[in-house]
């Protein structure tokens, strides 16, 4: 016992070092397990408050650009309103439609922290549990994708940006619906990688890639980007291409969080499938 105490006192600094390193590495590699822990909650509140103050100041510098984007969005929405359509049939009447049911709701949120220069980038938004935000919700800007919510506290949430090593988006070619995967491998925040393009797909520069709707996060048809360059692999089964993202990740200021009103139904369906599999 005495020897043990002596040993501990003599080597306490190595032990402290190991303990602190192990704590850090556990936090790092089990990030997902702590998403709703007290630590995340407290730190989100603390960091959120500081970052909120700073973004309150810096947002004035981007007002001109934000106004332009809003005006463009407005124009787009105006052109889809019923007033914009020519009515040929004057006898038409309103009818409660059972064919269309609201599937997505949008919550506007402000970006209060964002990065594009790290290998793994996260975005903090000023909306949280209180506004109905939950994990795994998709985040978009207009008709372009931004990322996915990974951690929520009362008033803030963190979004895993597309610019992250864990981010993997299921997309497809708009021209022929061929499925591909989109990833980001660091470097420029404008350019990503398109993986697993089937050999028979003829690729052209400028081809548009949109979301496939296969994942639970994004609906179909959101803009991901356009093909920048491609390589025809001789000995592999798939071709590769690089993609120029439609979203300018370095200038995000207002985004929308997608609330999937049918998510529970989709998840229940998936779970029932899993129980049968067992």
């Amino acid at each position: 016992m005495r020897y043990l105490l002596y040993f501990l006192r003599k080597h306490y600094i190595y032990i402290l070092f190991l303990v602190l390193e192990v704590i850090s590495l556990l936090l790092l590699f089990n990030n997902n397990a702590y998403q709703n822990s007290a630590l995340t909650y407290a730190s989100n509140g603390f960091a959120g408050t500081v970052l909120n103050v700073s973004s309150n100041i810096s947002e004035y510098f981007s007002l001109r650009r934000v106004n332009r984007i809003l005006a463009e969005d407005n124009a787009k929405l105006h052109s889809t309103r019923s007033e914009a359509f020519y009515k040929a049939d004057t006898n038409s009447f309103y009818q409660h439609d059972t064919l269309y049911k609201l599937e997505y709701r949008y919550i506007a949120a402000r970006v209060i922290s964002n990065s594009t220069n790290k290998r793994n980038n996260f975005i903090m938004l000023n909306k949280g549990h209180r506004q109905g935000i939950e994990n795994h919700m998709g985040v978009i800007m207009g008709d372009r994708i931004v990322g996915q919510v990974v951690s929520v506290s009362d008033h803030f949430c963190w979004v895993m940006s597309l610019l992250n090593k864990d981010s993997r988006i299921s997309g497809k070619f708009r021209k022929n619906n061929q499925l591909v995967n989109i990833e980001w491998n660091g470097g420029s925040y404008h350019i990503g990688d398109v993986k697993e393009i089937p050999k028979h797909v003829v690729i052209h520069k400028g081809d548009t890639i949109i979301t496939s709707g296969n994942s639970d996060i994004f609906p179909e048809g959101l803009l991901i980007g356009t093909i920048e360059d491609f390589t025809i692999a001789q000995e592999e089964n798939f071709n590769y291409a690089s993609i120029r993202f439609a979203t300018d990740f370095n200038s995000l200021s207002f985004v929308e969080v997608l609330i999937d009103l049918m998510r529970k139904e989709k998840e229940d369906l998936k779970n029932s499938f899993k129980t049968i599999e067992k």
Partner: protein, 175 residues
């Protein structure tokens, strides 16, 4: 004694805010991210007890992590750097450089000593950080390049800060 604590706490707060609000928002081609906040660990006084050195570095790292949602990443790199600090000081010192109540600095220890000291520790921190961040070997050379370029910029900032602090230190004898 209290003044040393207060000065280091103030430096902690200032460097965290500078890192989070300014440096983290700077965009150079996605390859250069200076992590100037570790200047705090470089400047802790020589006689800081080892446990305090490790603990304050851990707290520094975890604070940074809270702002970028990367729990444990900066903390792990900072603790490693703090652990290496006494060994680096022992290895490069001849025994005449230390003065009680002083922090390592360019003025007191000389250019050669301070250059060795900061270059080794910044490289330790940055390599740990960038390789833990990606944690795969497929992007090995890319990550190596990021670590080297970022270390270069961090060191540049460290030396600018050191040169800026020389005139001020002549009037006040200890820091």
């Amino acid at each position: 004694m209290t003044i040393i604590y207060l000065r280091n706490i103030a430096r902690f707060v200032f460097l965290v805010l500078f890192q989070v609000l300014i440096l983290n928002n700077i965009q150079f081609s996605g390859f250069i991210n200076p992590y100037f906040y570790i200047y705090f660990i470089l400047l802790l006084p020589f006689e800081t007890p080892p446990w305090l050195l490790l603990l304050s570095s851990f707290v520094l790292g975890i604070t940074l992590d809270a702002f970028t949602h990367t729990f444990g990443l900066n903390a792990a790199a900072c603790v490693l750097m703090a652990f290496a600090r006494p060994f680096v000081i022992n290895a490069i010192s001849t025994g005449t450089e230390f003065m009680i109540g002083h922090s390592p600095s360019l003025r007191n220890q000389g250019l050669k000593w301070f250059a060795y000291y900061s270059i080794i520790l910044v490289l330790v921190h940055h390599f740990a950080l960038f390789f833990l961040e990606i944690f795969r070997f497929t992007e090995f050379f890319q990550t190596l390049l990021r670590a080297l370029l970022s270390s270069l910029f961090t060191l540049l900032l460290v030396f600018i800060a050191e040169y800026l602090s020389i005139p001020r230190e002549k009037s006040s004898s200890s820091r």
